[in-house]
Subunit: 220 residues, 3 copies
Amino acid sequence: MTTSTALLLADLTGVAVFAASGASAAVAKRLDLFGVAFVGFVAALGGGIFRDLVIDEVPPLAFADWRYAATAAVTALAVFWLHPQLARLRTTVLVLDAAGLALFTVTGTLKALDARVPAVGACLIGMLTAIGGGLARDLLTAEIPVVLRREIYAVAALTGSIVVVLLYVVGRTGPAPLTAAAVLVFGLRLVALRRRWSAPVATLRPPRIGGVDPRTDREW
Amino acid sequence: MTTSTALLLADLTGVAVFAASGASAAVAKRLDLFGVAFVGFVAALGGGIFRDLVIDEVPPLAFADWRYAATAAVTALAVFWLHPQLARLRTTVLVLDAAGLALFTVTGTLKALDARVPAVGACLIGMLTAIGGGLARDLLTAEIPVVLRREIYAVAALTGSIVVVLLYVVGRTGPAPLTAAAVLVFGLRLVALRRRWSAPVATLRPPRIGGVDPRTDREW
Amino acid sequence: MTTSTALLLADLTGVAVFAASGASAAVAKRLDLFGVAFVGFVAALGGGIFRDLVIDEVPPLAFADWRYAATAAVTALAVFWLHPQLARLRTTVLVLDAAGLALFTVTGTLKALDARVPAVGACLIGMLTAIGGGLARDLLTAEIPVVLRREIYAVAALTGSIVVVLLYVVGRTGPAPLTAAAVLVFGLRLVALRRRWSAPVATLRPPRIGGVDPRTDREW
């Protein structure tokens, strides 16, 4: 198996995992067969479409290579029919989701660097590639994006993308260092899940006299 | 009347119809005059803007040709002032909406093919052009997109875009076959409306012992 | 200080102000530290990313120049830690927000014109640059975009972008006329705030006999 075949397989695994996550959210929201397929497609490919638009790789891979859309569609349909069984595989799915996060972080950051995006921008694009699909999934199902409420998800991706940029700067972008970066993201996410790490939330102490309650102040 | 004039008129008809649909949703949500115009603009032109971004036709037609924005704005403002009367024209509007869906499917798929997007991607882009405005309209008005809950809407568009791709492959993209494809989408949508066709929804049987209720499991 | 330094400083001021507005909304929604930073980033840079995509300036400035992301991140984190104090600065923040609106309107419209977008499209892009971040902020926090319910916000931006296009047509794009255009947007917004100007909302008089209640009619 060549490196590029390995990368493609890894990429499609990430697509399948995120499609399953989107389809599962859509089933829970009582969307119909098409809705489940569509949310699965967006969750799997939304981050990559955004990445390709900002680095001017058009048409985005999701439209240029049929295997991406096919993988997303087949997975989403499988979830539609099999979801009661899948609910029992919750741990498996969380592990696969962490793997998808790790993978999209590394490939997204690399593609941005190859498109000559500067370092800080490439970190952001790598992270957005990894979390973008989940964001779009939650917007479509009318939820406040869950990624915004669980810090260690996106922060794991951001950490990984910073590592990839550093590896790129020192010219170490062979399979071994990149795999190590992916394993780092994967591990961070799993440890965060197991230890229930979470980020601080700001204290809301509305100033009662002469002030404005920030909970209801929608003015700015 | 030349073919390109006919195509432009058809395109602007689609824009007007979708602008009316967006403006109507905005009126129902009690948005103000600007909000109604804005949601109308997004519903009419959002799908096309997305299409033009992914096929690298920049600036998108919605910004490059003033007649598109003007049509959307005038229609949305007309709905703002006339909407009680329009409510009585519900059947007319549903028929026009089906016509808009048909039209945007055909033109969106063709533009993607002309931009050298491969077959599967062109089908997806054609469908997204047709349903994208409605999706954006529902996101702006904080609804789960209605297109995700009524299968025969997007599926009619997808069927039409597949037909257009097949016609393109066999080199039959004259006015007659393309019109036939549009009529197919239009007919599918109308029949689905009249017969109340709908797509299956997955059964939710939460495994009660040792499992996770998929309705409330937001973890993946 | 050269003109381009002045422009950059003005641009970064706008970024900081909008980041504060996004971070503030995220704090009110009980998002965590990352969520606050992310919504701040999107509110500050979302409009500009959209602008750069439609005028084909890729990668967008938000990714190409690290100072933009850094300004947004630092401001959002400051709001996270300081927000109870900031609530007392409400008037200051509203004035700064109006300044950000004015600035992004002028720079967004100019960039669209420089990218050879025609007049009507440039007006729309200028306005969308100014209001886009706020729109995205509200979508991420699951609100109907507030800009759609307060006409004089977006309309001030639209007025300013029309003035910039007119100045461009007559060849008067020196610092003085552009500053005047920004001051116009700024003034319009402040006067609208002070006088509580608002736009008309359509009357909802559901036809009771033989009609459809437009408040609940989700069909089109």
